[in-house]
């Protein structure tokens, strides 16, 4: 056990976590550059394309240190985006230490802080690392000072590196060995293994990532999940090398995987404790907070024939994404679909992209919503995340909506405009302080609904990319909620309804009308588009009638081309949804989701 180190790298998004991980893997495993795919740990297509880490992954690095000893360094990679911070806290419970990575040009950011707090809650040893020292704009000394003053970390410990060039990476590995404590635990005690992740493999079923806290686990053992007493026979245990490498045993202090014929990732809940049937432990380990879906949206296939395909695709996706929930939903306009729950808007986008790309289904999404509480006059409470189920306003006593506490770090010159943004978004209890001269940390309580509506993009553009943002849910507060309906030629398009704060209703209504006007092609008749609350129209616009759609010339030489144009027109029409007698394209549904300020 003395030769094991379990650690993770925590950082603000884009500070170079994946790049550093890559470099470490290269140094330790000696994989040639040719074999080495960039961003090794980010293995999903979307992760690689967007350069973001979404799921935690683990890799075991064999490292021969200066003291001449062989060490096993378990790197548990963590996601950087706020939407996925629950993954970070899970990953951290399997570690004794963490590298806190800070970009030498950017300095400490909101998620640097948030992740540091998470690490501290888990009692981790922390090595601050200043990355990207190769950048001309790097100011390593200034950042080191920030780390000392803002974060209260020991400057002596700070390491400097360029994950890009590899400079300083060896030294970091040495520091991991010398400064991070080895795991504790008793390999002879009853088995206590903490599940911190589960992934689906098409051939082997669920692969559970565990940290063995106490005891030893062998192939052939019968394990028991403490939460539900489910029992499985262990087919294989092992560690995460470049590929999975099976081992005879996993014992206290180790991080590794278990394959035990488990069908779905849903059956292996992160936070659960695994023990042995024949020699169970007395107490489960403290688990994790339940994953919380905070954003909800309905997903419909464009072609109603694709419903079955969509259902299958969602099921497959869920095998590997336990954070995604879905329930059957239906819409007069769109037919059958699913109401899905997400961790945030990025999660929603990732799911949408993966469905369209990996499973080849074209989708329409409805306006994302948070979960509201409706207190009815009869004293009952309904939790509503779908406008379709919004109760009759006459029966509602009052409603509440979820609030978050937002932490925003930025250079102080943006203070005014960011304050305005927060005010616009119904922010309350704004406080701020200057962690270092020139930088402001602002915290503010904002309705979650305001944040899922393009808050992050707006913040980025207002602060020219210098503002960073982190949030956590705090509580529910009273709201003045209304249901905004969109009518096309007098017919309500249920899939476009949204729940909004009364003060935002008109602006949202106008925005929806304008977007629809842009996206709905003109038709042979005039189309009226209205936004209404109940019977009360609050915004309207019209699309004038198309007067002519004729191809002037068509001779022998261009029959094929003209026919193909018509076929394209036909295919385009097929991809539209007909409401009343109006054809509405997919892009129109998607445009309504987009904010107006881009």
């Amino acid at each position: 056990m003395k030769h094991i180190r379990n650690f993770s790298i925590i950082a603000h998004i884009d500070h170079g976590k994946s790049t550093l991980a890559d470099r470490m893997i290269q140094l330790c495993s000696g994989i040639s550059a040719r074999e080495f795919k960039d961003q090794f740990l980010d293995s999903m297509d979307i992760e690689r394309e967007r350069g973001i880490t979404i799921k935690s992954q683990t890799i075991c690095l064999p490292f021969k240190a200066r003291d001449g000893q062989e060490y096993a360094l378990n790197l548990v990679d963590t996601p950087g985006h706020v939407d996925f911070s629950y993954e970070v806290s899970r990953a951290l419970t399997s570690c004794e230490g963490a590298l806190l990575l800070v970009d030498a040009a950017q300095g400490v950011e909101a998620q640097t802080l948030a992740n540091l707090y998470l690490a501290m809650e888990n009692d981790l040893e922390i090595i601050p690392v200043v990355n990207k020292i190769d950048l001309p704009s790097a100011e390593p000394e200034k950042v080191a000072l920030q780390i000392e003053e803002d974060l209260g970390l020991d400057a002596e410990m700070t390491r400097y590196c360029s994950a890009k060039t590899g400079e300083g990476v060896q030294e970091i590995l040495e520091s991991i060995v010398s400064f991070l404590p080895p795991p504790e635990g008793d390999p002879k005690a009853e088995l206590q293994a903490l599940i911190f992740d589960a992934n689906y493999d098409a051939f082997r079923g669920t692969i559970i990532s565990v940290r063995i806290v106490n005891g030893t686990l062998r192939q052939g053992d019968t394990i028991r999940f403490m939460s539900n007493d489910a029992e499985y026979r262990v087919e294989e245990v092992g560690t995460f090398r470049i590929q999975r490498q099976s081992e005879k045993t996993l014992s206290a202090g180790m991080v590794g995987y278990i394959i035990a014929g488990i069908k779905s990732v849903q059956d292996a809940r992160p936070g659960d404790t695994i023990t042995l049937r024949d020699r169970p432990c007395a107490k489960a380990l403290p688990g994790f907070k339940e994953i919380q879906q905070v954003v909800f949206s309905s997903i419909y296939p464009i072609s109603t024939d694709d419903y079955e395909d969509l259902a299958a695709a969602l099921e497959k996706l869920q095998l590997n994404d336990a954070a995604l929930t879905f329930l059957k939903d239906s819409s007069a306009a769109l037919g059958f679909g699913f109401r899905c729950g997400f961790l945030g808007l990025l999660h929603l986008e990732v799911v949408q992209e993966r469905l369209e790309r990996e499973f080849d289904v074209s989708l329409i999404l409805t306006v994302p919503s948070v979960r509201y509480k409706c207190f009815l006059k009869d004293g009952s409470l309904q939790e509503i995340d779908n406008p379709a189920y919004y109760p009759d306003p006459a029966n509602i006593d009052y409603t509440e909506e979820p609030y978050i506490k937002a932490t925003i770090l930025m250079p102080d010159r943006y203070m005014g405009s960011v304050m305005n943004l927060c005010m616009e978004r119904r922010g309350e209890n704004t406080t701020y302080h200057y962690p270092t001269p020139g930088r402001i940390e602002l915290s503010c309580e904002i309705p979650l609904a305001e944040v899922i509506y393009d808050f992050y993009d707006r913040l980025k553009s207002i602060t020219q990319g210098y503002g960073s943002f982190d949030y956590s849910l705090i509580d529910y507060r009273k709201s003045d909620l209304v249901k905004l309906d969109i009518l096309v030629n007098g017919e309500r398009v249920d899939a476009l309804s949204q729940l909004v704060h009364r003060n935002n209703a008109r602006a949202r209504g106008l925005h929806a009308c304008e977007m629809l006007k842009e996206e709905i092609p003109r038709q042979m008749f005039k189309i009226a588009i209205q936004a209404a609350i109940g019977g009360n129209v609050i915004a309207r616009t019209t699309i004038s009638a198309l007067r002519k759609d004729v191809t002037a010339k068509c001779y022998g030489g261009d029959i094929t081309r003209k026919r193909k144009l018509l076929e394209k027109q036909k295919a385009g029409k097929k991809r539209m949804k007909t409401v009343g007698n109006v054809d509405i394209p997919q892009t129109a549904f998607l445009a309504v989701l987009k904010s107006d300020q881009k």
Binding site: R547, D549, T551, Y555, G556, G557, I559
Partner: protein, 377 residues
Amino acid sequence: MVSALYIHIPFCVSKCRYCSFSSFAGLNGLYDRYLLNVKKEMDQISAGCCKKMELQTVFLGGGTPTVLDPERLVNLLDHAEKLFGFAFDAEISVEANPGTVDGRALELLRQGGFDRLSLGVQSFSADELAMLGRCHSPMEADAAFKAARSAGFTNISLDLMYGLPGQTIESWRTTLITALTLEPEHLSMYQLTVEEGTPFGDLLASGKLELPDEDTVVAMDELNLELCGEAGLEMYEISNFSRPGYRCRHNINYWQNNEYHAAGAGAVSFSSGVREKRFDDPREYCRRVEAGDTVITEREELTLEASFRETVVMGLRMMDGVERECLVARFGLDPERYYGEVLEKLVAQQLVELTPTHLKVTPAGRLYSNIILAELV
């Protein structure tokens, strides 16, 4: 069996700014070599025909065929006649642009066997012609028409374009009236379509091309019907009008989706159920014929049903529509049964009319033909 022949002459004096046709300017040095190779290709086509039939229609189009001197064009026609034979009442058309033909040339063409002339006039406004990049004046157009008459052409068609950048309804009316005053047998009127990859396309993309609004264009359409009607020209296809008995048989053959031979760069043929397009670049075309390589760059063969739908869609461009009996004879399919609800809906919307014998677009549906055809394609 194939009874129509199209020959493409891909040369022009200069390139018009809206033009996306297969035509090239400045290749004068290639003319003779090109003609030689077109003849060679015709030889091969003729040799490949097992059942040969006299041609009912021949169309020499471009480009601008009349950039070649009339003797050469007549020589080409003679070659075709030797190979295929022409029906005694065959329609033999040639396209010409004003400024490339004079009285002598027109006489030679007429005497050489061409009996239908299609004159690319486009506009009678000097400003509009300049804006389009046409290399002739209104006066030359007028002169060419009159010379054609004197040369003995009794079947003359004029090509006009409307919906031009900056064009007003008044200027279009002037062009149209000027054209009608010449009393042509046939009139083709095309609304300008701006194609990508042309100078106009680039201007449009960068927002520098101001086209008349839709209401103006629709008013122009109405004017066409009105003035042509008064002049005794009947609309028989979306863009084509003629005096009774002067419809263009060659083009009707296309719209009926019947087969046709074709020779020359960029030309498309349709025979034995296969549509084939030739290489656009006349240099490439020549090299290939000379080397004995194929000149075909695209090939398309549709399934029976797709071909049926294509035939319906093409046929509905004509005011007479499609004849149901013909469709049944050719494909074993009748539109009413085949399209079912889709057609019922169009009938209910009064966009098409289904009679016991025909399927056709209604006058109300005429301006929405793409919407209708996109349902049926």
